[in-house]
């Protein structure tokens, strides 16, 4: 704490000074406190982890489609390795891809720019946050190579499997996994405090609460949700760590502990967590939809209040993950009702997007395609959630591939589609160059079509009774016949992964030779488009910090010559 307090006080001086006589060379990047630099660090670390997670998916999908085959670039997958791959794939995609990219990267990049500030309120805490995050990245990667191998007890890490090494056989890997997750939480806690304080305290003069772009609101609401939900999980993680390392019995029923307790602590965090990543993606999509429909956002306030309502409700649904964990059926009923209730605000978010599109002057470029596909694909995820939320149906569906397909239809739109939407939309601002639209569209279709081809078969498999986390389905005669679906999913995955090369090629090509972007290539209203691309240190010249005169979505205002009206123009 002393640390934070010192930090707060010292921020006062010379944040500008370090640009001139701070460290030089590579250290300049590592020790930078510039929010844009930290955002880039989060973005590229997150993308790198995305490649790692994607590679893992490729390896275990190969094992499922062609059991026992020697997987190119990996080799034969043993049962223990299979478990480790699945576990770490899930953990990495949620904690080291979705969180750093959607919250930390976009939050860091966009919040100060969108509210007309020169940096975060606590730049050095911000840097500390990334450094802790980086340690957690190294920790989780290292955990895959220690003796016994990486942790294989699922991303939910249920005890007693996760607590006792005679069951999980990965005493070091399990502990490193847990420490890595805990460090990651600390990093986002620091980041979250920064986002919230910055949005509340550092807005440009004239920017009232309802003039803040939706994406900034969403990232901040998500940070609040994260901060309110993560405490109990940290408590649980400490308890689990003690169970693993010093032999306490918090979760060991033989010694008076309670394994279900972990499930409550985990899902009390786990469910809000899915909205923590959902809301920033929704915000990104909303901003893009409004810009490229050239229409005023339908229901700005509805949107904000809906997000808050979703956040509040998300604290009362967690036990829908535990319907068959032996919870009281009366309690299951209550959680069924709250779960079905939460789909109302979620539907509202989608309706706001659709209503904004209605009658708009829609431009179908790459960012807009991503945004539209978010609406379509997330809808499938949300609708299948309703089946799972009904406890009666869930008793059959729980822990089948239906659940797996459900949450991939939510997480993929969020973490992958949302990221690509945001990345292609803000690329001109971040790097000063336009992206190649044709390559962008090839990449788009090459991702979206295989994505559906992967997970639609998995819905079918789940309904057919195929359970998750099984190494080789050939051992189950009644499931073996469905093998063609598994092969289809795996082949589609490989095609999708290969199409990502188009994306990386597009990035490099556009970065080196793309057309100059200028300040405002999309003719958008929000403040980040009023400065240079890429923005200089401090974002605006000292004597020309922006002032705000109106809300962010004044497009196609009748009687105005231009179809947009930047927030900083007096008239």
């Amino acid at each position: 704490m002393a640390q934070a307090a010192t930090e707060i006080h010292h921020e006062a001086h010379g944040h500008d000074a370090h640009a001139h006589h701070g460290p030089q060379g590579i250290l300049k990047y590592i020790w930078s406190t510039d929010h844009k630099m930290i955002a880039m660090q989060y973005l590229f670390t997150g993308m790198f982890m995305g490649i790692v997670g994607g590679f893992m998916a490729y390896v275990f999908r190969m094992q499922l489609a062609f059991p026992g085959v020697s997987v190119p670039l990996f080799g034969v997958v043993s049962p223990g390795e299979y478990n480790a791959l699945v576990t770490n794939h899930g953990s990495i995609m949620i904690f080291w891809v979705a969180m750093p990219v959607l919250i930390a990267a976009f939050g860091n990049y966009l919040i100060p720019l969108m509210i007309g500030a020169d940096d975060m309120v606590f730049p050095r805490i911000n840097r500390l946050s990334f450094q802790i995050f980086l340690v957690s990245v190294l920790m989780i990667l290292a955990s895959l190579f220690v003796s016994g191998g990486g942790f294989g007890g699922a991303w939910t890490s249920y005890p007693p499997l996760s607590a006792q090494s005679q069951y999980n056989l990965t005493s070091i890997g399990a502990t490193m996994w847990l420490i890595a997750v805990a460090l990651e939480f600390v990093a986002f806690l620091l980041g979250g405090i920064n986002f919230i304080v910055t949005l509340m305290n550092a807005r440009a003069p004239g920017m009232k609460a309802y003039d803040i772009p939706v994406v900034a609101w969403m990232i901040v609401i998500a940070s609040i949700l994260f901060m309110l939900s993560v405490g109990p999980l940290i408590a649980g993680a400490i308890m689990l760590l003690f169970d693993q390392t010093i032999g306490t019995g918090f979760f060991d029923p033989a010694r008076g502990g309670d394994p279900i307790l972990w499930q409550h602590l985990f899902w009390f965090f786990g469910h809000p967590e899915v909205y923590v990543v959902l809301l920033p993606a929704v915000g990104i999509v909303i901003d893009i939809v409004a810009t490229f429909a050239r229409k005023k956002l339908f229901g700005y306030k509805i949107m904000i209040f809906t997000a808050v309502a979703t956040g509040v409700l998300s604290f009362f649904v967690w036990a829908h993950h535990q319907f068959i964990a032996g919870i009281d059926p009366r309690m299951a009923n209550i959680f069924t009702v709250t779960t079905l209730l939460i789909s109302v605000p979620i539907a509202e978010l989608l309706f706001v997007m659709i209503a904004t599109l209605y009658g708009g002057n829609i431009k179908l470029n790459t960012p807009m395609l991503w945004a539209l596909s978010f609406i379509a694909e997330f809808l499938i995820g949300g609708v299948t959630g309703i089946f799972l939320g009904a406890s009666g149906a869930d008793i059959y569906l729980h822990d089948t591939y239906f659940v797996l397909a459900h949450f991939h239809y939510t997480f993929f739109p969020i973490a992958i589609i949302g990221t690509f939407a945001g990345f292609t939309y803000w690329f001109p601002k971040m790097f000063g160059k336009m992206m190649d639209d044709r390559l962008g569209k090839i990449h788009f279709w090459g991702t979206i079509i295989p994505f559906n081809m992967i997970f639609i078969p998995l819905f079918v498999l789940g309904l057919g009774g195929q359970h998750r986390r099984i190494y080789n389905f050939q051992n189950f005669p009644e499931l073996a016949a469905m093998q063609p679906f598994r092969v289809l999913a795996t082949v589609s995955l490989i095609i999708m992964l290969l199409f990502q090369l188009v994306f990386f090629w597009n990035c490099i090509k556009s970065w080196r030779g793309g057309a100059k972007a200028g300040r405002n290539p999309w003719k958008a209203n929000t403040l980040e488009w009023t400065t240079e691309s890429p923005p200089p240190h401090g974002n605006w010249p000292r004597d020309a910090m922006p002032r705000v005169y109106r809300g962010p979505y004044e497009y196609s205002v009748p009687g105005r010559e231009d179809d947009y009206w930047p927030q900083n123009l007096p008239s």
């Binding site: 307090a5 006062a12 001086h13 500030a117 940096d119 920064n194 993560v230 408590a235 307790l261 009390f268």
Partner: protein, 201 residues
């Protein structure tokens, strides 16, 4: 906050200063958010404790063969901690009038805080001597977990207060830094009676 980065002058073409409206000073707001998270951490621990306790074999609490916690001695210690919090309020009051007058109450408050932590340490040694360990039962495990977490928070807060006290004697302590430090100590003071009630009684 003398020269906040974001408060710096500049802005519109006339070069008038453009103050940004702050809900609360940055440090104070950040600390409040941090405290909310910490409150949830303790809430998680306490609810876990209550659930495990309610399922104890034969409703025996403490479990068979485990010592009772010294509730009376700790009541005294609780009083010391609460007193420290109250005296800190006086320190704040004095700080508003003159900085030098705040030094004595602030020092007493820190001293009482240290007394509290030391007292807890002695108590831990006693309990360990009586065979209560983290491995001996969930009762012991929760005791050390919850009280230990609180003690770590107390030490962190005391570190912050000591730092603030040094600045105070040098006359460089700002009100918002002082408030930030105070808030964390109040948090430590206020959760303790709850923990005492749940864990000891």
């Amino acid at each position: 906050m003398e020269t906040m980065t974001l408060d710096r002058p500049g802005g519109d073409p006339q070069g008038r200063p453009m103050p940004r409206q702050k809900i609360l000073p940055d440090g104070v707001l950040g600390m409040l958010l941090f405290i909310f998270t910490e409150a949830m951490l303790f809430a998680g621990m306490i609810s876990a404790f209550v659930i495990v306790k309610s399922q104890a074999a034969g409703q025996m609490w403490p479990p068979y063969g485990q010592p009772r916690l010294p509730a009376q001695e700790t009541a005294i210690n609780t009083a010391a901690l609460l007193l420290s919090g109250i005296i800190l309020l006086f320190a704040q009051y004095a700080f508003k009038k003159s900085e030098t007058r705040a030094v004595v109450p602030f020092g007493i408050s820190i001293f009482l805080g240290l007394f509290f932590v030391a007292f807890q340490g002695v108590e831990w040694a006693q309990m360990l001597g009586q065979g209560l360990t983290m491995q001996s039962s969930t009762y012991g495990a929760f005791f050390y977990l919850i009280v230990g977490t609180h003690a770590l928070h107390a030490l962190g807060a005391l570190g912050g207060m000591a730092w603030a006290c040094v600045k105070l004697t040098r006359g460089t302590l700002t009100q918002s830094a002082f408030t930030t430090v105070q808030l964390f100590w109040y948090f430590v003071v206020i959760v303790w009676p709850l923990l005492y009630w749940k864990v000891y009684l």
